[in-house]
Amino acid sequence: MADEALRTRIATIAGFREHPQAGQLMSYGVSMPGNYRRAAVFIDKLLSGANAAELPFEFPTKLELVVNLNTARTVGISIPESLLATADEVLE
């Protein structure tokens, strides 16, 4: 998908940081490893006999903004400084 986007020079925004790492333009969303880590806690509770109905749902606290500047250059988009300032990770 990233290769196709790069080839066709289409700017893409994804939900997971793995996408800009693979070459897409940027992502904003939850951290999958972080989610899996929390999921492990839930599994532990369920295995310990907790009632699934009583477990409160949790919303990921951290939302990551990852920008791939290489892709931006390739696609020909300039990223505003304000956006770069809030990015959790900038790939170059």
């Binding site: 409160p56 949790e58 606290t61 400084e81 304000s82 300032a85």
Partner: protein, 599 residues
């Protein structure tokens, strides 16, 4: 059945005594040992318990304070970061610059989920959010809301904790700028970050730290699901206690309460200024006092070991005491049963051994005394008490062995006794014999003669054996005369009763074989020889009031007595005729008894 009965009480007695002594020793040792150890263990455990309580309380208070400080710092950091956004008045600077700053703030402070900037008039100008689109249009008027008015008034406003989407604790934090036209920045702060702080507080294995707000609602807990459920602990005893205590005095404290899981907990609290929250640190009592329990267990182990030791020592001591005592008891029983001289073997090297030695000495003494007594009884049968005493004290019974010696034999009997015995009543015969023997017996003892035996009215005694005496013949004659006098007095009484009884004596001197004859249990000391036969014959030849002696006797006493020669007698069983003399009286002054009884 009857055979088994007798030993029972005997064996039961000592066993019962044995048990009693044993129990006493065991009891004493056990009491001494356990009293010491229990006392010591209890005192130690008590102090240990106090120290442990104090130490854990101190640690918990420290942890609570540190946690509270960390949370205060977290909040004040958010507050400080927020302060940056309120430094520039709304009039100056482009909106984009403010938005950029707001974005950077969100980047810098992950706990802030949403930031709204309000101008001095109370109108929202910009909202930057992680979850929604940024809004630059603004428009909502918040000038009447507490987050605006309170922030303006106090420069900072801590809103109540609320649950966003019903599950996540949030707090509104509003900061007003220093300048009146700088407006107010209102941040929605996600309190899940406090969870990190609380999770880091490690209290033992089962302990934990948690935070409640001023209303008792759970804000942070290691088990975040409790927080997300929005649990309220306002009616929980430890929370109530902390709240009431902090109202009176805003300094940390500690206590023991039922925890959230209703197990008793050691609990400490610290206020989180300026939020009005409380950080509580709790540790299960079972864990807090585990070292105390371990110490108690150790003490109990010690107690058990010491008790075993005490019981063993008691057993050993009691055995050491009981065994010799039982030996002594057995010894006493054996002696009581007649086993004199029984020796007790006790080697304990203490007072009991001394007692056993004394016991053995006593038993030996008893046996010796008994032996002496037996021998004396035996000797007294045929010896005068004086002679018996001499032989006894010499301890030499060899004197009684078979041997030959010159002795003076005295035979005497009553004339006419046979006829009297046939005619008189048996009681009368016995009475006369009794008086007769009593009279002779006294004299036999007096003259220290050796008595062989009584045969009815006949009596045989001799002199010069087993102990030699000077002038045996003279003694024999003197005794015979004394007997004659005594019987003479007696016969007066008899004559009045109508009994005609005379008294005849025969005395000889010569070699005889002497020694013990008889069988085990019935030994007699006896003399055998012609001298004895001759004396018997002379006695039977003697008429009333005659004392017949042979020539040997006469030779020995001739100078002392008046006598008459009766000529030669041919005696039955004696081959050669024997010259016989009759002793009449002693020469010189006459004893009164003799004069009275003469004739």
């Amino acid at each position: 059945m009857t055979d088994e009965r007798p030993p029972e009480p005997r064996s039961a007695g000592p066993r019962r005594t044995n048990g009693r002594l044993l129990r006493k020793y065991l009891g004493l040792f056990a009491i001494v040992a356990s009293a010491t150890l229990v006392g010591n263990g209890a005192i130690e455990a008590w102090f240990f318990y106090r120290e442990q309580t104090m130490a854990i309380s101190r640690i918990q208070v420290e942890q609570a304070l540190a946690g509270a400080a960390a949370i205060s710092q977290f909040v004040s950091e958010v507050q400080n970061e927020l302060g940056w956004t309120t430094q520039i008045p709304w009039a100056a600077g482009p909106l984009d610059q403010r938005r950029f700053d707001a974005r950077r703030l969100l980047r810098q402070v992950p706990a802030i989920t949403e930031l709204t900037e309000v101008d001095a008039t109370g109108r929202e100008r910009m909202t930057v959010s992680r979850l929604g689109m940024d809004s630059m249009a603004g428009g909502t008027d918040v000038s009447a809301e507490a987050k605006f008015t309170e922030a303006l008034r106090r420069k900072v406003y801590y809103g109540p904790v609320y649950m966003r989407r019903g599950s996540e604790p949030y707090m509104t934090l509003a900061v007003a700028g220093q300048r009146s036209d700088a407006g107010v920045s209102i941040a929605e702060v996600n309190l899940k970050f406090i969870w990190d702080v609380v999770s880091r507080i490690k209290v033992g294995k089962g302990g934990r730290a948690f935070v409640v707000d001023g209303d008792g609602r759970l804000i942070a807990h290691p088990d975040i699901t409790l927080v997300l459920k929005g649990a309220s602990l306002s009616d929980h005893p430890e929370v109530q206690h902390a709240r009431s205590e902090l109202e009176a005095d805003p300094s940390p404290g500690a206590g023991i309460f039922n925890g959230v899981e209703t197990a008793p907990m050691m609990s400490a609290y610290a206020p989180i200024v300026p939020l009005g929250w409380i950080l509580l640190v709790e540790l299960p009592l079972s864990e807090a006092y585990a070292p105390v329990y371990r110490s108690l267990l150790r003490s109990s182990g010690f107690l058990l070991v010491a008790l075993c030791g005490a019981v063993l020592a008691g057993l050993v001591l009691a055995r050491r005491m009981v065994i010799p005592i039982r030996a002594l008891q057995v010894g006493a029983e054996r002696i009581g049963e007649g086993d004199l001289g029984y020796q007790v073997d006790v080697r304990t090297g203490d007072e009991v051994e001394g007692l056993a030695h004394a016991f053995n000495a006593m038993s030996t003494e008893l046996r010796d005394a008994k032996t002496r007594e037996d021998r004396m009884a035996r000797l007294r049968r045929f010896l005068s008490p004086q002679v018996a005493e001499v032989i006894e004290s010499s301890g030499n019974e060899a004197l009684l062995q078979s041997h030959r010696r010159d002795i003076a034999v005295v035979f005497c009997d009553l004339r006419g006794f046979t006829a009297f015995a046939e005619a008189a009543a048996p009681e009368e015969v016995m009475s006369v014999l009794g008086e007769y023997h009593a009279a002779l017996g006294a004299l036999i003892h007096e003259y220290e003669a050796t008595l062989e035996r009584f045969i009815g009215d006949g009596v045989m005694v001799w002199f010069n054996d087993p102990l030699p005496c000077p002038n045996p013949c003279e003694r024999a004659v003197r005794m015979a005369l004394a007997m004659q006098a005594s019987i003479g007095t007696q016969s007066g009484t008899w004559r009045k009763a109508g009994h005609r009884l005379g008294f005849g004596v025969g005395i000889t001197y010569g070699y005889a074989t002497l020694g013990r004859i008889g069988f085990e249990g019935r030994f007699d000391y006896s003399a055998i020889g012609s001298v004895v036969n001759l004396a018997a014959r002379l006695c039977s030849e003697a008429r009333d009031s005659q004392i017949l002696v042979d020539s040997k006797v006469l030779n020995a006493v001739q100078a002392e007595i008046e006598y008459e020669t009766l000529g030669e007698f041919a005696l039955k069983g004696i081959r050669v005729p024997v010259e016989v003399y009759n002793v009449i009286r002693l020469k010189g002054p006459q004893p009164v008894a003799f004069a009275a009884g003469g004739g």
